[in-house]
């Protein structure tokens, strides 16, 4: 990620771990899954010849053929439902939905079927389905391709929701998601695909239910996910230069939320700023703020602060889009407001 790249002091074994883009890391994860498990197949709109809207699956169709990298018509509900059925039938589908906005057309299948079957059947029928979709703004795609709705899915019992923020998580969360007996939704932020970072080629599957402390600090904890993590790290660099020490937590998992890691951080810093690209009202930042308040109220030095997107459909014009979503300078300003000493 940009801030990690910029500050070699804070990189993990940067000299020995190869670097690749987030897109390449996800593609490598998909290729590995297809090569090692015959039950795995990819399906979605234009995942084959076209190579995927964000070029994540580029080359996989040529390598694995049309049955393993399966194009679908524009039928989000149909092919997500088919993914559920295929999972019930013994396959391990990876369903790509072009953007989170389009996933709303499949919401019935995700919420009413994938998330409920295990419970409704008294524990008999689990749905080992992986859904990948892009989320987030920053590419001037306006109000039907730019929203951050992962918090909606994180609301639903029965689902697991993850948001890899680094190429390494893009590479190694997928095998864990595929091994999971439950439906797992992977949110890939659209602005991350071209970002590079270290990816350990032999790390192996990693947990998908724990947050990670990406930077240590003592004055405040910044909680972020997906596209906000690199912005939070960049903000932490600026804050450090100004004499403020920010700890940065990458949530990684949005359901379940790792309150243990967040609370442990707050025990050290006593202040928290939650940065969320989703909207504030009824959003993930509200849940995190409330959950941390319940756990940490008596050790807080200030109310938990939130920085979220403006309550507006994401606009097209660059300056308006930029203004609508949290930026590095917004995080810096919010941190100063929270710590209150500058």
């Amino acid at each position: 990620m940009s801030s990690l790249d910029a500050d070699t002091d804070e990189r993990i074994d940067a000299e020995v771990v190869p670097s690749m883009t987030y897109r390449e890391a996800m593609r490598e994860a998909l290729r590995d899954a297809l090569a090692t498990d015959d039950r795995v197949f990819i399906m979605g709109e234009d995942v084959a010849d076209y190579g995927g809207t964000y070029a994540v699956t580029k080359g996989l169709y040529e390598e694995f053929g049309r049955d393993r990298v399966r194009n679908t018509p524009l039928s989000e509900s149909g092919f997500v439902g088919a993914g559920i059925g295929a999972a019930l039938g013994g396959l391990r589908p990876i369903v790509e939905i072009m953007t989170v906005n389009f996933s709303l057309l499949a919401l019935d299948q995700v919420v009413n079927t994938a998330a409920t079957l295990l419970h409704m059947s008294g524990g008999q029928l689990n749905v080992p389905l992986v859904i990948r979709t892009t989320t987030g703004a920053g590419r001037q795609l306006a109000a039907q391709h730019s929203h951050s709705l992962e918090g909606w899915f994180a609301h639903v019992p029965g689902l697991k929701v993850v948001a890899p923020a680094t190429p390494e998580d893009a590479r190694w969360m997928l095998p864990t998601a595929l091994a999971d007996p439950n439906p797992v939704i992977i949110f890939e932020h659209a602005t991350l695909y071209n970002e590079s970072g270290p990816v350990d080629p032999v790390l192996g599957p990693v947990d998908i239910d724990r947050a990670a402390v990406r930077r240590h600090g003592s004055d405040l904890t910044i909680v972020a996910s997906a596209g906000m993590v690199s912005k939070a790290l960049a903000a932490a660099d600026l804050l450090s230069a100004a004499g403020m020490s920010a700890e940065v937590i990458d949530l990684r998992s949005l359901r379940p939320l790792d309150f243990d890691t967040m609370a442990a951080s707050l025990a050290r810093t006593s202040r928290a700023l939650v940065v969320d690209e989703g909207w504030r009202t009824g959003g993930l930042s509200a849940e995190i703020s409330a959950g941390l308040t319940e756990r940490c109220f008596w050790s807080l030095d200030a109310p938990i602060a939130r920085l979220a997107s403006a309550e507006v459909p994401i606009p097209y014009a660059k300056h308006l889009e930029t203004a609508a979503i949290p930026q590095i300078e917004d995080i810096v300003a919010a941190a100063h407001d929270l710590v209150g000493d500058r």
Binding site: G83, L88, M120, S121
Partner: protein
Amino acid sequence: MTISSSPLATDHDLWRSLLGDMIRVRVFEERCAELYGESKIRGFLHLYIGEEAIASGVMSCLRPDDAVLATYREHGHALLRGVSAESIMSEMFGKATGCSGGRGGSMHLFDAATRFFGGNAIVGGHLPVAVGLGLADQVLGRSGAVTVCFFGEGAVAEGEFHEAMNLAALWNVPVLFCCENNRYAMGTSLRSSESQIDLALKAASYAIPAWSVDGMDIVEVHRATTKALASVRADGGPMFIEFQTYRFRAHSMFDPDLYRDPAEVEHWKLRDPIATFARRLVDEQIVTDADIEEMWERARAETEAAVAAAEAAPIEPIDTLLDHVTRDAEPAPHIERSPETTTDDEVWP
């Protein structure tokens, strides 16, 4: 005397068995209605009375490795698939011994052992799932296995019906779509809600072989299903059968049935699939009145045993409330991703 040209001329055991199946469902459903009145069964309760020939005829053609998906009007389908009356009744009583552990109720009967995939109460929602189950059979080479998907005519108005038809035909999956057209989606008649009421034509427009049969005549149901399954099992791709039928009861126990002309209901009751078939079998001397009475007795005994077992069954302890939300996963290793080099900010003890 058996009429030699009759379709019933051979396979007498089959026809007796099918009559017995329909009677089992009828008795079970009538008892459910009483138990609803006694508040033993709660929630929504949708009865299959009048439509028994469809599930009875179709289920009799299936193999153990086939998969079945049905709607919320599925007690009969589950029963005839081999889910025990006791576990179905216990489910409706909300008991621990129910086939869904008391989590599903009348609308969500599931049984993995018999590949009975619900009990689905989002109209149209299970059609894409059926396509996926068929795709899995195709990809994994489970030759001849078929997924049978029941749904009401109301589902054809849903987008998921059309998406599923297209995908099924596009991928040539082994799925038999069984449309139970009882003419009313709750209180909305097909004629008042669809611009095209020829349902087989809708499926045919997706290049799926489709036709309509009399769903009140179990001989026709059995014949059509046998024919369709032979094709689907031989990799012939999906098929669609519309079964013309009628429910004698209201949509659910909450429904005062204000939208149907009582004369229409009475007209259809003249075509009761059990009464008409019983008469045929007696006329053709395949069964006697005494045989039929014994079928009713056996069905009553089965149902009463199920009720007694459901009454006596334990409820799930409340501390199992959060069970079956997610299944435990093999834990993947937690990698410490925190920066290993100490930064100038790292000051806590």
